[in-house]
Amino acid sequence: MTSTAVHFDHVSRHFGDVRAVDDVTFDILDGEFFTMLGPSGSGKTTCLRLVAGFDQPTAGRILLHDQDVSKRPPYERDVNTVFQDYALFPHMNVGDNVAYGLMIKKVPKPERAQRVLEMLDLVQLSGFEHRKPSQLSGGQRQRVALARALINHPRVLLLDEPLGALDLKLRQQMQTELKAIQKKVGITFIFVTHDQEEALTMSDRIAVFNRGKVEQIGAPEDMYERPATAFVAGFLGTSNLLSGEVARALTGSPDPVAIRPEKLRVLGAGEAAPDGWRYAPGTIRDVVYLGMYKRYLVDVQTGGDVIVIEQNLDSRAHPRSAQVTLAWHPEHMRKLASA
């Protein structure tokens, strides 16, 4: 389980002056669900294309199971891709699409047919083999694309924002399903997305990309609870980012810090902060009622403002302009690498 599936070794990919991928080094482990997360243009898709072989690195090496594949064409790599636009062959029916890889490898017809049936069963599309891709819905095409890639038993499966075109409900359903399929087949999944919620739900580990570099890699909880940089803190969920004088007033140091809105507590007059917590006085500037929770915007007396999210456990709310005390556990006030 702990062997390395893909190793990026000082990989760069430049397009003219644009450094799409800028000297990244990291490992993807065998059998894990690895997500490359970042805004558009951050280099995540380019990294995926480098692994697939559609693109070659300008510098550095890519190792697949300890073999340098940097110069190998896509058809000599033991990886398969699920494309963002699915890329199903429009002139073939579903069965022929799924069987394409086996047809190329000249697998005998009866075995091909058998494995197509198994794959369509896995993605819950049994009985669809004679349909044309144009007769399928977006979600069904998605499944066909998945089956067409998985039938080759690749050691690594690459997924390029495959859920982007689906509506919310279907997307959430496919998230669970993809995760279940990955567990079942035990193949390394490398998943590219710009959707942080998707990344948090599905991944074993997440790499957050920004401007061609990897900002941080870790398990979802690590990334959320202990973001290393301001970018990660802001991109995964929301954070109150404080630095300079504002930070000094609260932590005693001007180094940048981040704290999640749900980790702050708003205390009214007479309420005391729990032992070991730190606190600071402030004024409620705004309250927004959001059903499941309330969102406060609080002016800190020493300067700056923070967002606080409080669950609606009781119906009491601090009114606007109320003098309150902000309290937090020092552990939740995370020091960030100064960006």
Binding site: G53, P74, A87, P90, Y100, K105
Partner: protein, 300 residues
């Protein structure tokens, strides 16, 4: 003015009618009606003694089409149309592929221009230019003679059926010029069909283990077929109806267009000329129906 706008706004069908009426009338008067007249004429007959058209229903024109001399004209024309179409498809494929896949935007524009430029000059001028190029004293003969290959050209021209006294008086000459004049009509739809194949399909094929030649066979080629069929509609039908190229460059063997011209012109046998015209139309209608079934019409 306002009341007119309001009146039109309230009756959308009136606006539609006003917009559609001129083209519809034009189509009816100048296309549909003559076709009807043509069809009716083909069932009349010519009185051999008076030389007058007798408006009585008869099938004799259509029976006359099956005389060996006329059958030969059909087969020659259809054979030429098929040969020209195949040659155009083969020649246009690499060029269309290059334009669609590899050419930079700048080169794409230049190549487009190169393909379309001949269409800016008169078709007759181009055909007569080829007459000079292919003539016995023309540049092609000169080229072969200079290389000392004159004998080869003569041997080629002495082939029965396709040869003739010179390239400018032979079926080979007719074929060459047909391919030249109709080639752009094949290149453009084939190129358009290839342009519409998303790059990700080719990547997907490679990703699934197919080497470039397998990708070409299994993905590029099948997806370009509608474009080839669309182009062949042009090359085939244009060859089928043309009488200029065989008149200028051919030998004495007739093509459909020339036969029609002769029947209705010098011999005044309009009914037989009409029947002769109906045949390529029927062939093209069947061809179009077939092309529609294969989805080629969307590639136009």
């Amino acid at each position: 003015m306002t009341s007119l706008s309001t009146a039109l706004y309230r009756r959308p069908w009136l606006t539609l009618l006003m917009l559609l009426a001129p083209p519809l009338v034009y189509l009816l008067v100048f296309y549909v009606a003559p076709l009807g007249v043509l069809l009716i004429n083909s069932f009349w007959r010519l009185d051999d003694f008076t030389g007058q058209v007798v408006p009585e229903f008869t099938l004799q024109n259509y029976l006359a089409l099956f005389q060996p001399a006329n059958l030969e004209i059909f087969l020659r024309t259809a054979g030429m149309a098929a040969a020209v179409t195949i040659a155009c498809a083969i020649i246009s494929f690499p060029l269309a592929y290059y334009i669609a896949r590899y050419a930079s935007p700048r080169w794409k524009g230049l190549l487009y221009l190169a393909v379309l430029l001949p269409l800016w000059s008169s078709y007759l001028i181009r055909v007569y230019a080829w007459k000079l190029i292919l003539a016995k004293e023309g540049i092609v003969s000169w080229f072969f003679n200079t290389l000392g290959l004159g004998g080869l050209l003569d041997a080629f021209l002495s082939l029965p059926g396709i040869g003739g006294p010179s390239l400018s008086f032979s079926s080979i000459g007719v074929f060459l010029v047909f391919v030249y004049v109709w080639l752009p009509y094949m290149i453009l739809p084939v190129q358009a069909a290839m342009e519409r194949v998303p790059r990700s399909l080719l990547e997907a094929s490679g990703d699934l283990g197919a080497k470039p030649n397998a990708t070409f066979r299994h993905v590029t080629l099948p997806l370009a077929v509608p474009g080839v069929i669309a182009g062949s509609i042009f090359t085939f039908s244009l060859t089928l109806g043309d009488f200029v190229v065989p008149t200028v460059l051919g030998n004495s063997s007739f093509y459909i267009g020339q036969a029609v011209l002769t029947f209705q012109g010098s011999s005044g046998n309009i009914p037989l000329a009409a029947a002769f015209t109906v045949v390529p139309m029927v062939v093209m209608i069947l061809y179009l129906l077939g092309a529609k079934r294969m989805g080629a019409l969307e590639a136009l």
